[in-house]
């Protein structure tokens, strides 16, 4: 654990900024800024997560030419960007770890994601005080003060910060700073306790994946949520772990482009098959799918919930669909016995 003063941190990041982009929370989202002016970030999370930096909402995969009925590959434009992302919350870091696993940690490595992700230095900032819509502790009680996959992880104490790192490149950046003294470490412990205490009462998530799985065809359970669902894709687009994409082709004057776009399980085309069959034909199945995927399938398949408790979908849903209620309700509904 290192001690770093506010202006030293600003210098560190702004120096990095000479050779790379600086991203920081600005209003609703993470934006490119010419320089970092403050290490203060608003309570809670931004409306939009940082996923767009690694997983752009539109990304060209390849280009080609079409001549005499033949297709000729023109280019595979691998993205190339270097940046430092400041102000990631711990829930965001959990989400990035899940994205990493999805895009690069299994059988297939997505080079487009990998290139952008590798180019980004992650600066996490521990939460001093959770926002009322935060519920990361439902999935892991230590999340709000957890460094996760951050290159540099910061604990903002009174007028300086403590910094730690979980990667080699992060360690390198911090190597010149002094180690934290006893007094700072005591302060850190108090900071952590206060942070965790600011979170809401933990809802039981042991066995959640099974509970939700069993509720799959319990129409009554889903009805109230479905009644208000408008069927837009906001919840999935603001979610830091939603990573589904669609691949499209575009040909203009014999020059073609294959590109991917964010897709959403809330859209009717998402599961439309070439035969015309749509296994999730109505908004009801699509609304339910998001909860099944976040709270059950992902856990059963990969041992992790695809919800990190950031509360973005809760804040952003125009109809106020609240995933916390779905989780809480699943605890009180009994099946079979009652």
């Amino acid at each position: 654990m290192k001690i770093i003063k506010t202006d030293e941190l600003l210098n560190l990041i702004n120096n990095l900024g000479k050779e790379m982009d600086i991203w920081a929370p600005v209003g609703d989202s993470f934006e490119r800024v010419p320089s970092l002016k403050t290490v203060e970030i608003p309570q809670g999370t931004t409306h939009f997560s940082a996923k767009e930096i690694f997983f752009p909402k539109e990304q060209t995969l390849l280009t080609y030419k079409r001549e005499d009925g033949n297709f000729e590959l023109d280019s595979v434009p691998l993205p190339d960007a270097k940046g430092v992302i400041f102000g990631l919350r711990s829930c965001d870091l959990v989400a990035i770890a899940e994205m990493d696993e999805f895009f690069t940690g299994r059988t297939y490595t997505d080079v487009y994601y990998q290139k952008l992700r590798e180019g980004m230095l992650l600066f996490g900032v521990a939460c001093k005080q959770a926002a009322p819509t935060c519920f990361c502790n439902w999935f892991d009680p230590d999340v709000p003060v957890n460094p996760g996959v951050a290159d540099v992880y910061l604990y903002p104490l009174e007028n300086y910060l403590l910094a730690t790192s979980t990667t080699e490149r992060g360690e390198k950046m911090l190597s010149s700073f002094p180690d934290a003294d006893e007094e700072s470490l005591e302060k850190l412990e108090r900071f952590k306790l206060e942070s965790i205490a600011s979170l809401p009462e933990k809802q039981e998530t042991d066995g959640l994946a099974d509970r939700i799985y069993e509720l799959f065809d319990d129409k009554q359970f889903w009805q109230g949520t479905f009644d208000r669902c408008l069927g837009c894709g906001i919840c999935t687009f603001v979610c830091p772990t939603c990573h589904c994409f669609d691949i499209q082709e575009e040909i203009i004057n014999r020059v073609g482009r294959r590109y991917r776009l964010w897709d959403s399980c809330q859209f009717s085309l998402f599961t439309l098959e070439a035969s015309g069959l749509n296994p999730r034909p109505t908004r009801f199945e699509r609304m339910r799918q998001r909860f099944m995927d976040k709270l059950s399938y992902s856990y059963k398949e990969f041992g992790k919930y695809q919800c990190v408790g950031c509360g973005r979908c809760v804040v952003m849903c125009p109809a106020n669909i609240d995933i916390r209620e779905v989780i809480a309700k699943s605890c009180t509904v009994s099946r079979g016995g009652g």
């Binding site: 609703d28 608003p42 309570q43 809670g44 409306h47 909402k57 539109e58 926002a131 009322p132 819509t133 109230g224 009644d227 208000r228 408008l230 069927g231 837009c232 894709g233 906001i234 687009f237 603001v238 669609d246 499209q248 575009e250 590109y259 776009l261 964010w262 959403s264 859209f267 009717s268 085309l269 439309l272 908004r283 809760v314 804040v315 952003m316 125009p318 109809a319 106020n320 609240d322 916390r324 209620e325």
Partner: protein, 317 residues
């Protein structure tokens, strides 16, 4: 409790108990500040959850089609009733199956504007007459409610229900004149073509293609939206200026003579695209060219489904 809320509960309970309706669509308290959430109440004992307040922003007519096979009671503001009328004339819902409880509307508040001012999650929000009291980090602020009126509500000329089976409370006075109603558009029209195009570009470039504008619009109900058609594929779904402009402008044109300017599209947009100038234009064109206002009666045929000898035809060469 506010008297409108108690009357809504009373009437919903009676309608459900008497079996006049199977379900009542209304609003209930939200789980986050500045929000009332839509709810469908199916049992008389559940009516206590219904509320009426200045956050009942959404146009509930958007939910009618999903209860098509039921007898529906619906709590409806002026704009909601006009959308219901359109859905009836376009034969999307059957007027006989809908019981409209009209509520004169004093104008709803914009969640977006309130959040910009007070953040997403203040500790306490209270409305006292025309003042909103918001407590953030222990500090209480009192601000006139009019600062936070949704744009569509600010320029609304039909706050009172137009089509209804019964009305709760007295009609509210109309706050703006016909001319004031179009003031955003009038200002916009003064701009040069370049400035206007710049406005369109800037607004559309924010789009993330979540399609909330479409899903929240009561009159966007095509089984297959043109943007989703694969064969033929009308437009690309990327984020280029042309793709985004074609998407939004075409969706808006499809609302010509149908848009009631409820402002749902702007209110639900997560990135703050402001469609109000564009919807005012749709409405003014219908009014000036055809003396038609959308959704003012269920007996009038939809504007674009009728033809009269003396229809406006200056655009014919």
């Amino acid at each position: 409790m506010d008297s409108v809320t108690s009357q809504i509960r009373e009437r919903a309970k009676a309608l459900l108990s008497e079996g006049k309706v199977d379900v009542v669509i209304g609003f209930t308290e939200g789980t986050i500040p500045f929000t009332a959430r839509p709810v469908a109440v199916a049992h008389p004992e559940e009516v206590e959850c219904l509320v009426w307040n200045r956050f009942c922003r959404l146009n509930l007519a958007s939910y009618l089609r999903q209860f098509k096979d039921k007898k529906i009671g619906i709590i409806a503001k002026g704009c909601d009733t006009r959308s219901i009328a359109i859905l009836c004339t376009e034969q999307q819902v059957n007027r006989d199956n809908i019981y409209i409880i009209g509520i004169p509307c004093e104008g709803m508040l914009s969640r977006k504007t309130l959040r910009e001012r007070f953040g997403d999650t203040p500790e306490k929000v209270e409305i006292k007459d025309d003042i909103i009291e918001v407590t953030t980090s222990g500090k209480k602020e009192s601000v006139p409610i009019s600062n936070f009126l949704d744009t569509a509500c600010r320029f609304c000329i039909h706050p009172n229900p137009v089509v209804y089976d019964e009305m709760i409370d007295d009609e509210v006075p109309i706050r703006v004149s016909q001319e004031e109603h179009y003031s955003l558009l009038r200002e916009f029209e003064k701009k040069s073509p370049d400035e206007r195009w710049k406005y369109f570009r800037e607004e559309f470039s924010k789009c993330i293609r979540c399609y909330a504008c479409r899903e929240a619009c009561p009159t966007c109900y095509c089984e297959e939206c043109f943007v989703d058609s694969l064969n033929p594929k009308w437009i690309d779904k990327g984020f280029s200026e042309s793709d985004l402009s074609i998407w939004h402008l075409t969706r808006l044109y499809h609302q010509a003579g149908r848009c009631v300017e409820c402002g749902n599209c702007s209110a639900v947009c997560p990135v703050g695209i402001d469609f109000n100038v564009m919807t005012q234009k749709l409405s003014l064109d219908a009014l000036q060219m055809f003396q038609y206002e959308a959704g003012m009666s269920i007996d009038e045929k939809p504007l674009l489904q009728t033809f009269k000898q003396d229809d406006y035809n200056d655009f014919v060469m």
